[in-house]
Symmetry: C2
Subunit: 354 residues, 2 copies
């Protein structure tokens, strides 16, 4: 690892004595114990349905309005749902192949768009949220837009008014909306607002709500049956069914009482307050997180910050540039309060010296 | 389901009272019991390495010559390994985007090639095996070729001489070889010959050898580190790590003694003999399977055959057309002898009436 070739994937799985990682965006608290309860007696081994196990899709359908199991595809995490969606949309219609991305963005988006043979274009967020005027101007030329509220990496939640305006405008224009709602259960300021319409593809996952990152179970939801069928057809040839055991574990998670999520949310909120106040007290300029578990403070010489914090202070942070923004770094606060406090101390030491 | 929209995916998971399925290509015999032994105590949940768990890749490296864990990527089955390989190769070099496919082919190949933005071209098999003269003529214009020995759907195994000639010619021409060897442990006539060279990508899976289809654990192997790194980078954004529990189960499978495979092979060979002799006795023209678990007999009016065998006789077979060949149907013999015999009886009844 050198300062020149730093990338987020280099930090994945990096751990060790004394390292404090504000890096990877994955819950540290375990999944509900119920998801493990089915393991001792599990004996299946054959292919499952490409679209996903029926009972899991039926359980998901209960969470979405006017929906049946037909409207879902269970995928290898939200990542595959996004990849398949973009690859299918790239072949749809004859409009431009541009996909609008609010910036800063989740670092995979530009890659996913390009890997699908499409072209990313950007609308810059203001105070971490969509500037609707700029959005409206740029979306006209696009085939699709990716919305990510709550946002990784800004931690911001779009206003319901903005989401409704986006819903209407994209519907009028015939622009597809890919709504990545993987943090929908981690909102501190209101309930989730589900963007709807036949032009909407909603992406979700068991990774954040139920801490099941490693099992890679996500799904997409769309009321456009032609789109769903195209996704299934593509998945038939690109990965087949999602791991059958992962799907059963996910199904168990759908049965866990809401209190599991509420209890987790309380913990996330405490951590949010701790890191937000801690970094503010250190004099950093940052947006108050309203959802997800990230903060994106401004720092001088962000590359030096990330490099030195890791090399000299054993603290992993992610460079803003990976998310399309300069002079900022991303902290994931998916770690316990004690470690957050220790990490904040080390950041303070670095800032005092630089 | 109508005769006009018949497709293999419509038969996946179709089962029921009295149905005999020669359709889907998946083992009916269970995985080694050892792969389930780890389930009761499994507690992990975090992301794994995108490339795959180190101990699994180290175990795989022992099965390949001059290899280390770095040469492997663990994937969501062989399907994703193929998809990622083609997508990465489509961006490599400046040669044509043609991919040569021996025909009849595994039905996903043309889709996979097209989904990766490349163009499939074909070399027709002779007696179910590669015609090297035709292969040599057509491969010149190609960027890559997919080799599948033992072959799904022909059940044939290429001669070592042919494989060596392909190895040399493609190396001389700088054409990539994607060698899909998922049936390498199911060969009745000789040991597997591993095609080698820095231009070779070998694809394999735990689905056939260890009957782990539903868990979707495959891998690719390549000595071209640049290619491997590109695959990892793409997987980072398109699906992330392969299910961590599936990988642990696969790792357990690597430790199972060779006798497990030998015992399975004995059963496959008995079934091969049963169906080959049975269909021959019914007067059908077919190639003797040398590997995998498929036969591809000629039949008159193959569409009527597949349709009526299913609708009137509850026997699932796959249409040759799906594999790029007319007037043939594919039988998978991944079912027990009793069912094979019952299925043969029903085929006999149909043939006598038509």
């Amino acid at each position: 690892m050198t300062i020149k070739n730093l990338s987020p994937s280099m930090f994945i799985g990096v751990a060790g004595k004394g390292i404090i990682s504000f890096g990877s965006g994955q819950p540290d608290l375990p999944p509900p114990k119920e998801v493990y309860d089915i393991l001792p007696t599990f004996k299946a081994f054959k292919y499952g349905l490409i679209q996903g196990q029926v009972h899991l899709r039926e359980a998901l359908a209960k969470q979405y309005p006017t929906s049946t199991a037909d409207s879902f595809v269970v995928t290898n995490g939200a990542s595959e749902a996004l990849d398949l969606s973009l690859r299918v949309l790239s072949k749809f219609g004859n409009k431009s192949n541009k996909v609008l991305l609010p910036r800063p963005y989740y670092y995979s988006y530009p890659y996913s768009v390009k890997f699908a043979g499409m072209e990313p274009v950007y609308t810059d967020l203001v105070e971490g949220r969509i500037d609707f005027a700029d959005f409206a101007e740029k979306v006209v030329d696009c085939k699709a837009v990716i919305i990510n509220s709550p946002s990784n990496p800004t931690g911001r939640v779009e206003s319901i008014q903005t989401l409704k305006r986006i819903e209407k405008l994209t519907s009028d224009l015939g622009v597809y909306v890919i709504s990545d709602e993987v943090y929908k259960d981690l909102i501190y300021v209101r309930g989730n607002y589900l963007i709807q319409g036949p032009h909407v593809v909603t992406i979700n996952s068991f990774s954040k709500t139920y801490a099941m990152c490693g099992f890679r179970v996500g799904h997409l939801w769309s009321l456009d049956q032609d789109f769903v069928n195209n996704v299934i057809q593509m998945k038939t040839h690109t990965s087949m069914n999602t791991n059958i055991l992962g799907q059963e574990m996910a199904y168990e998670a759908t049965k866990v009482p809401r209190s599991f999520i509420d209890n987790q949310l309380r913990i996330w909120k405490q951590r949010r307050d701790l890191i937000y106040e801690g970094l503010s007290d250190l004099g950093l300029d940052l947006w108050k997180p309203e959802g997800a578990f990230y903060v994106l403070p401004k720092v001088k010489n962000s590359l030096d910050f990330v490099w030195n914090m890791f090399k000299r202070y054993k603290v992993i942070t992610y460079l803003g540039k990976w998310f399309g923004t300069e002079n900022r770094v991303r902290f994931s606060y998916a770690l316990d309060s004690e470690k957050i406090e220790e990490g904040l101390k080390r950041v303070g030491k670095y800032l005092n010296k630089n």
